[in-house]
């Protein structure tokens, strides 16, 4: 059977991977040991910059370029989901009774809890972001809390209110703007060479697209005059 063959193939691969992983893991430093050279250096550097939350220092100071990549992955995934889920072709939106006439039928307890928790959760999100440099927290964690807080309105059954609270175009442009600000600030903090590299990269990429685009136009769109050589 096909499924059986697949499972057998997986078993062989998994056995090999497990053997290699075990051999590698047995040579790792002992669990809970005292030797953490990178960690010690990161702590030292964070304290020198007086960022008391070392993890924020690693993410936004010592490895800020990696965080740019991470942020761009997040943005690319959001764009990908938007593109995948856009209303295509003849797919019609349901304009009917479901979400036109106010709140849906949910229990009063859920509705009240949703409305009560919304401001509290927003406040906690802002707090987590604001204190990220000093105490456990930070932009990623607080951002998730902020994003979740808004959707308490949906749990409370009030989708129209949710739509008024979060106009999608505003959030789309704010996300792009924030990602751009993050990249610009990281480049400004990193000095001239990475910024110049970035500018050259964008320039070369755009130039190549323009060049190839012109060649495509020549090859695919420009018709040869009738009665030509061919």
């Amino acid at each position: 059977m096909r499924a059986r063959a697949r499972t057998l193939l997986f078993a062989a691969g998994a056995a090999g991977a497990a053997a290699l992983f075990t051999a590698g893991a047995l040579d790792l430093p002992h669990f809970g040991g005292a030797v953490h050279p990178y960690g010690d250096r990161a702590v030292h550097q964070a304290l020198r910059e007086s960022t008391t939350n070392t993890i924020s220092s690693v993410n936004f100071d010592q490895r800020a370029f990696d965080t740019i990549g991470e942020e761009l992955i997040l943005m690319a995934s959001a764009i990908g989901a938007v593109v995948l889920l856009r209303v295509v072709g003849k797919e019609a939106e349901d304009q009917g009774a479901a979400h036109r006439h106010g709140p849906a039928e949910v229990s009063d307890a859920l509705r009240i809890v949703g409305y009560l928790l919304l401001p509290v959760t927003l406040l906690i999100g802002v707090y987590i972001i604001a204190h990220g440099a000093q105490s456990p927290g930070g932009g990623f964690q607080g951002g998730v809390i902020l994003g979740t807080a808004v959707h308490l309105l949906y749990l409370a059954g009030d989708y129209p209110a949710l739509q008024r609270l979060r106009p999608i175009p505003v959030f789309e442009s704010t996300e792009a703007l924030a990602a751009g600000v993050f990249v610009a600030m990281a480049l400004a903090a990193a000095g001239a060479v990475p910024a110049l590299n970035g500018a050259v990269g964008v320039e070369v990429g755009c130039a190549l697209v323009l060049l190839i685009g012109k060649f495509f136009e020549q090859a695919l769109l420009v018709r040869e005059p009738p009665g030509g050589t061919s």
Binding site: I55, N59, S77
Partner: protein, 115 residues
């Protein structure tokens, strides 16, 4: 057995992969992929652990007191979680479209690429 946490991480990865391979449902496969990825969280945090240590945060205590766990791997775990969540979101969007176009989310019934 001081290497047990590392081996547990490897076990989680293989268990998640087994789920992906034998999955009969795309949503289930996405969840299994999340399980696979959580093995990497365990591995990273296990490498950074130190006996008798506390969290690498110095807001309420002096800098040279107790030892702290490795902040580098903890920051990488944070990155890992964010990337994992975005991958999950994107794959779920794909699963929604597959369900709409093909009327099934059983990977065995999705033989060809044409719609």
């Amino acid at each position: 057995m001081s290497h047990l946490p590392y081996l547990a991480a490897g076990w989680i990865v293989i268990a998640g992969l087994y789920g992906v391979v034998t999955s009969r449902d795309l949503i289930h496969a996405v969840v299994c992929l999340s399980v696979t990825q959580s093995g990497t969280y365990v591995l990273l945090l296990a490498i950074g652990y130190r006996y008798g240590a506390t969290a690498p945060v110095f807001s309420d205590r002096p800098p040279h007191g107790r030892p702290v766990t490795d902040p580098v791997v903890q920051a990488m775990t944070l990155t890992d979680i964010v990337v994992g969540a975005t991958v999950t979101a994107l794959l779920l969007a794909l699963a929604v479209q597959v369900a709409k176009r093909r009327g099934t989310i059983d990977p065995d019934e999705l033989r060809s690429l044409e719609s």
